[in-house]
Amino acid sequence: MLGRGIIKGLWETGRNFCGSYYDPARLTTVQYPEAKLAPWENARTVPFLVYDGKDAIAGLRCTACTICEQECPAHCIEIVKDTAKRADYLGKMQLQPKVFDIDAMVCMSCGICAEVCPFDSIKMDQVFDLAGGSRSMMLTLKELAKSNEYFRLIHPTEAAVVDAARAEEQRKAQAKKAAASPALPNAPATSPVSAAPARAATPAVA
């Protein structure tokens, strides 16, 4: 009969109207600036630099190899190498960046820098509400450096793989060193930050 569909439709909208007042779960709107959706793991926006331990500069994994700078299709990364060297988590002496800038306005979030990084240093972040008043928004080392704990929080699966691999490498390096100098079996770890990946290895194995 004519009009049955109209009655059905009216019933549905009427139910929505009443239901939306006593059942807030019906309302799908997230009121953005006040409330935000929880980011999902695969979200990747702009790059950031991972550091181990507490000190952002001392624990920085970046060795200023400039592979990311050369691979970046948008040329938004600028690295200036420092002259001083410091030991990395395996005890090898490595360079470190003096300047590490990423222009977030130019970055197109392709993630190539994170893919090519051999030191698991540059990773993709999840901040999405970036806005700038000019054509350029330079993120310096200070803003880019974020702790490994943060990386574990936003990309737990990837962080677990990285942590496990680094712990394994560290174990091998230590075993090699122990074999090379049996006189000193309890040599202190060369890196001041070696404790962090070792701790992280536990959840990764589990």
Binding site: M1, L2, G3, N16, F17, S20, T28, Q31
Partner: protein, 396 residues
């Protein structure tokens, strides 16, 4: 009760009394105009925000909630935006007609409010042919819409205006046909008399409103459908059709002229809703004598708001019709049904002399059956119609 009921009438009389005697008719007129404009202007603002809120809720959204508490100041923000926008007139437009069209739409709509009784003794003018005046004034909006569409020199505007004319003329017929039984029942063209004819109750509990008879119920439904089409409301908002015609005859309008069109459209809806309340829902009358402590204008406002809510509800539910569906719905369904309704109404009064047991039930059954059979039959005919075959001479 009477003091509150007549508070606006008394206030108006008191304020008129303050003026010198020769000026008193002028002051009375100005007061009526100011009152109507204030009330329905506010009503327009309130409706825009609540319409958006209710539409949002019906689609499981929140609706506007940014400006002021709960978004209640949204109309102010909209108004500021509209008034500060640039008023663009297209280069090749007919400037005079383009300027006059929004005025030609809004002014007649305001005039239509003059004859509506909003409460006991509360109509600006009690014309003895009020309803004729209402429909005569109401059909002026078609001219305004066509002025807007033609003067814009824009194909979308012209197409929208043509659709609007076709729609408004088609739906004026069932709109008027649905009111005729009411006029016959009241025996008057005066809206005040029509309200008074619906006073009292049947058996002490059922109000003697027109909507509570078989012909009244059908007439009310027909009237509301035709009213939605007359005021370009969804699902009959083809003249605007923003998804297919950009915005129809509003395409080339911006700023305050657009706001005037918007205002005119909503005021047209209010006027025709107020007319529906007056004709079918007993106007300002309380449903039962026991409820007469509530002022008459309050009852009017309650019924009026309920019908506006119904319009919003329908808008949230139904998609837009196609033009051929729209016109065949008017001519093949509404008009025949309205004609049948006339005969049912006549039968209802002819049988009012029946005085045997269950006479009322039999009259209801007969009336409802006489309406239901053509309803089902016409509905099936509408549905079973062949799909429209388009023949293009040049665009094959």
């Amino acid at each position: 009760m009477n003091a509150l009921d007549q508070i606006f009438v008394a206030a108006g009389r008191w304020m008129t009394g303050l003026a010198p005697a020769p000026l008193q008719p002028l002051v009375a007129m100005a007061l009526a105009i100011a009152g109507l404009m204030a009330v329905f202007g506010t009503c327009f603002a309130v409706t825009t925000i609540f319409e958006r809120k209710i539409l949002g809720r019906m689609q499981n959204r929140l609706g506007p909630n940014r400006v002021g508490p709960f978004g209640l100041l949204q109309p102010m923000a909209d108004g500021v935006k509209m008034l500060t926008k640039e008023d663009i007139v297209p280069f090749s437009a007919d400037r005079v007609v383009h300027f006059l069209a929004p005025l030609a739409l809004t002014v007649p709509v305001w005039l239509a409010f003059a004859v509506l009784p909003f409460g006991r003794n509360m109509s600006a003018i009690d014309l003895n042919a009020g309803i004729l005046f209402f429909f005569a004034i109401g059909s002026a909006s078609e001219l305004a819409v066509f002025m807007a569409g033609w003067s814009s020199q824009n194909k979308y505007a012209l197409l929208g205006a043509m659709r609007a004319i076709a729609q408004m003329i088609s739906y004026e017929v069932p709109l008027v046909l649905a009111t005729i039984p009411v006029l016959m029942a009241a025996g008057s063209l005066s809206l005040t008399d029509i309200v008074l004819a619906q006073s009292g109750t049947v058996m002490g509990v059922v109000p003697r409103w027109n909507v509570l008879t078989p012909w009244g119920l059908a007439g009310f439904a027909l009237f509301m459908i035709a009213a939605a089409a007359e005021s370009n409301r969804c699902p009959f908002d083809l003249p605007e059709g923003e998804s297919e015609l950009i915005a129809g005859f509003l395409t080339e309008y911006s700023g305050f002229k657009y706001a005037l069109f918007f205002l005119g459209e909503y005021l047209g809806l209010f006027a025709v809703t107020a007319l529906a309340v007056t004709l079918f829902l007993g106007g300002w009358q309380a449903p039962l004598p026991a409820l007469e402590w509530f002022p008459s204008w309050g009852w009017f406002a309650v019924k009026f708001s309920a019908l506006i809510f119904l319009f919003i509800w329908v808008r949230a539910t139904l998609p837009r019709l196609r033009l051929d569906q729209l016109l065949s719905f008017a001519w093949k369904f509404l008009v025949p049904l309205a004609l049948v309704n006339l005969f049912v109404a006549v039968g209802w009064w002819q049988s009012s002399a029946w005085h045997f047991p269950a006479a009322l039930e039999l009259r209801w059954l007969l009336g409802a059956g006489l309406l239901a059979v053509p309803y089902v039959w016409l509905g099936q005919a509408l549905k079973s119609g062949k799909p429209v075959q388009h023949h293009y001479s040049y665009a094959e």
